[in-house]
Amino acid sequence: MSAPHDKWDTLRKLLALKRHELPPPGFFDRLPDRIRARIEAETESSGGWAAWRRWFNFQWGFKPALAGAMLAAAAGLYVVEVTQNPAATNPEPRLSPDYGLVVVPAVVSNASSHLLADRPATPWTPPASLQPHLGTPPPPGLFRPGAGLMVSPAAFTPAGASLQAPLEPATTSNALHQVPAGETWPPYRTPQK
């Protein structure tokens, strides 16, 4: 029976045989190029996000805390911009200098005047289409505290006179139509019996 030392010595020599096992000739000359090509191929295939991230890493070094801080700063700037300038997200409509309604007067021809004469006398209110939303000032007390309602008194023309009178040109005034006080418009006629 051989001594343990002899056995170990034989095993050590056998294991030394392993050091003589070599890869095919030229393997170690080609390996770095293969590794480099693989890194470059993976870099290209990973797309724009990876390229951006590499650029970011190269410029600043990837620091999650820094990225989070930059994101928070950008969000903060956005919030400040919105609160300081609400027009940025909800632009206020441009109003006329006197904040009046933008009114487009109706054009009534002489040929159609008899149709109006047959109508019953009812209080006339401008249709909704004549009160465009963009031309309406904000309600008092909500956006402009203390400001009163800007109401222009209604005025009417005497019976028959208004239809003959030339129409006034279009205006942006809040006065719908100037009618002498005490008279109605459209003219009211008592039904003929």
Binding site: T10, E21, R36
Partner: protein, 209 residues
């Protein structure tokens, strides 16, 4: 000398700032910034030892070549996580060891040998000449037979025991460095080494004097 021709004393040298380590640190820093030429230098410096470890673990050239590539590619991607607490050599060895262990766990069901050719100088190695007493043209065949028997015995060991034998008895790494690579204490390395040698001696009993 180790398998890669590096003196064992050089590997076991404690990690202190030497010109070599400083140059390596500069190369690592450049590679971290995406400098592939710098990384190329690191690859050429360590490829033989990484390949040898993976080859002795897998006993297959193709597998070892693939794993070596994967090791270096993964290391390049993970350079950001390399803090420099250990040497780059230890760090990349650790990646290679993990690659090998994962690969062997997946490959456990198949065992085959596809051995590399022996270096022609092996036949003139005095220690091997002593092993193969025949001084005839059959010596090469005898060496190949020994190689095959040895690899079969190595493949019978567990992955951890084979790794310790590979790193210590074949590549010549010191216990301390193996413990850092395998993330275990030195006592565990010594224990595994002792048990692995005993098993190998049992498997190769008919070759023992």
């Amino acid at each position: 000398m180790t398998a890669a021709g590096q003196p064992e004393a050089a590997i076991s040298r404690p990690a202190r700032p030497t010109p070599e380590r400083e140059e390596e640190a500069r190369l690592v820093a450049r590679a971290r910034e995406g400098d592939l030429a710098a990384y190329d230098t690191l690859v050429r410096r360590y490829q033989e030892r990484v390949y040898a470890t993976l080859y002795h673990m897998t006993a297959n050239h193709e597998d070892a070549a693939d794993l070596t590539q994967e090791t270096f590619v993964k290391a390049f991607r993970a350079l950001k996580s390399f803090k420099g607490h250990s040497s780059f050599f230890t760090w990349i060895y650790r990646i290679a060891v993990n690659k090998a262990l994962n690969f062997l766990k997946q490959r456990r069901h198949r065992r085959f040998l596809s051995l590399n050719d022996l270096d022609l100088r092996a036949e003139n190695d005095p220690e091997l000449v002593e092993l193969v007493s025949e001084d005839t043209p059959r010596r090469g065949a005898r060496l190949n037979e020994l190689q095959e028997r040895l690899n079969e015995a190595l493949l019978k060991l567990s992955e951890e025991h084979r790794m310790v034998i590979t790193l210590h008895d074949i590549q010549g790494l010191p216990h301390e460095q193996i413990s850092r690579i395998m993330r275990c204490n030195v006592g565990t390395v010594r224990s595994r080494l002792h048990y692995a040698r005993q098993q190998l001696q049992a498997y190769l009993a008919d070759l023992m004097p």
